[in-house]
């Protein structure tokens, strides 16, 4: 019997992306540059997060034409973003045949209470999380992959570091609890009990966990990998840098050889200017994207 869209097939694609870099692209030409640099997937969108931040207004799913143009020029998987809770945007992306949907805080939320029921779809979802409870709620809704939220479009890795450390730390803590303490832990984390029990057993998330939000250099990528990320998303960091093709290749190599300072030193040379970057404290609380999502 043939079964499509099973959870194993969904989480399986996430497993295949491990150790790789997923790059934001806004057109076919950028998608080709990303693929040639060794990206494991591209995220098709209308504007990179730094431009979404600058433009303001409501940010929505990209025009299907752009997504299809990108799907036509690369053989690697193509992802695209939908607004939090906007299941119709997700239905549209599924009909286009994108390989992964990112229910993303980078776009303006469409629902301030509910996320998408991701079990309804045949294609897998990735969702952002700042802590273990949030990650497990998303997995409970059917997410096949988690990424840190970080603070997208800033070129500042500090929030991604905070979120990755917290998720790993909370998972390790669960592993040290007695079985009769797990229900209270689930209550405190506001997470499904069954998933809390699974994390307590293995000491890590039940799905692949990537770093995202503010990664701008090869060293940033390697830092996230050493902190326990399974791979990285780079949004504005590539096409907002001075030399995108060179930066992209360097980040790919740094993600593979994250434990080898000699390689990291080599790939960090002569990259040109990284994206300018933003100090988090200079962004107003209401403009922080990471607090979107529930």
């Amino acid at each position: 019997m043939v079964k499509q869209g099973t959870y194993r097939v969904k989480t399986g694609l996430a497993e295949m992306l491990k150790g790789g870099v997923i790059m934001d692209v806004t057109n076919a030409e950028q998608a080709k540059i990303a693929e040639d640099a060794g990206a494991v997937a591209v995220m098709a969108l209308e504007r990179v997060p730094a431009d979404i931040r600058a433009a303001g207004g409501v940010a929505r799913m990209a025009d299907p034409t752009i997504i299809e143009e990108i799907m036509n020029v690369v053989t690697i998987p193509v992802m695209a973003k939908v607004r939090i809770g906007h299941f119709v945007e997700a239905q549209i992306l599924e009909s286009l045949g994108v390989d992964f949907i990112d229910e993303s805080e980078v776009l303006t939320p469409a629902d301030e209470e509910h996320h998408i029921n991701k079990w309804d779809f045949k294609i897998p979802f990735v969702c952002g999380a700042r802590n273990l409870g949030e990650a497990l709620r998303r997995i409970g809704e059917g997410a096949a992959m988690i990424r840190t939220k970080g603070e997208a479009g800033t070129g500042n890795v500090v929030e991604a570091v905070r979120h990755m450390r917290l998720i790993m730390n909370e998972a390790r803590r669960l592993k040290n609890l007695r079985e009769d303490e797990l229900m209270t832990a689930a209550k405190e984390l506001q997470a499904p009990y069954e998933l809390v029990c699974q994390v307590a057993k293995s000491g890590k998330l039940t799905v692949v966990n990537f770093a995202a939000g503010g990664i701008a250099t090869p060293a940033d990528a390697a830092l996230m990998m050493q902190l326990g990320a399974d791979g990285v998303f780079v949004g504005s960091g590539i096409f907002k840098s001075e030399n995108p093709a060179v930066m992209a290749r360097a980040i790919v190599e740094a993600t593979t050889h994250y434990n080898d300072p000699e390689v990291l030193a080599n790939v960090s040379r002569k990259l040109g200017k990284a994206m300018a970057g933003l100090e988090i404290s200079q962004i107003g609380e209401e403009d922080l994207l990471q607090f979107r999502g529930w």
């Binding site: 019997m1 043939v2 079964k3 499509q4 869209g5 099973t6 194993r8 097939v9 399986g12 694609l13 497993e15 295949m16 992306l17 491990k18 150790g19 790789g20 693929e35 640099a37 060794g38 990206a39 494991v40 997937a41 053989t75 690697i76 998987p77 599924e94 045949g97 994108v98 390989d99 992964f100 045949k122 294609i123 897998p124 790919v252 190599e253 593979t256 050889h257 080898d260």
Partner: protein, 192 residues
């Protein structure tokens, strides 16, 4: 016995877990000099274009070709199958060019079409094997020295030739060790 898993990108951990369940030692390989430590190599699933570029950049291509010619068994799953093929129907041509097969990338479709199915693989016995196919390739045609081991829907999805074994699906995602055991038993211990 040491079985290396090429750890440039992809599902490395899952293969290492399977190898260890087969009572062998799994070693992740990031640099070519580490290949001298191993008795066999697995090229895992992942993105074939990514792994191919990193193999070239970090000088794996000639070393793996030479070691295979000298008898190192190599097993490729999904992206690994693409990377071992002599020819790809379209798109980037991988560099190893070891196995006399022509392969079509993403032949079963995109992620929406990814699937699980029960496979008959006669060399593994009569019990069916759960095949997990993710944006999977298939083998369009094989050369003379290649033995077809399994088909699905009329398409070749598993084959072997001399010291090479390939599958279009992912045994490392199933918990069923029979293919890893087969590889170790037939290709490493018995030397084919």
């Amino acid at each position: 016995m040491n079985i290396g898993v090429l750890a440039l990108q992809g599902a490395v951990r899952e293969h290492i877990q399977m190898i260890e369940r087969c009572k062998a030692r799994g070693i992740s390989i990031k640099r070519p000099h580490e290949l001298s430590l191993i008795d066999a190599l697995i090229i895992p699933g992942g993105e074939s274009t990514t792994i191919d570029k990193l193999m070239e950049k970090y000088n794996f291509v000639e070393t793996i070709r030479k070691l295979n010619a000298d008898g190192l068994p190599v097993y490729g799953t999904c992206a690994g199958l693409i990377l071992l093929a002599k020819k790809i129907t379209e798109g980037t041509q991988p560099l190893l060019k070891l196995m006399d097969i022509e392969v079509k990338r993403n032949a079963f479709g995109r992620q929406r079409e990814s699937f699980e199915a029960d496979l008959d693989i006669s060399e593994l016995g009569s019990r069916s094997y759960k095949g997990v196919f993710i944006r999977a390739p298939w083998i369009e045609s094989v050369g003379q020295g290649v033995t077809v081991m399994a088909k699905f829907d009329g398409k070749i999805i598993m084959a072997r030739q001399d010291k090479l074994l390939v599958s279009a699906f992912h045994p490392e995602l199933t918990g069923d060790c029979r293919i890893h055991e087969y590889f170790i038993e037939r290709f490493v211990k018995q030397g084919c």
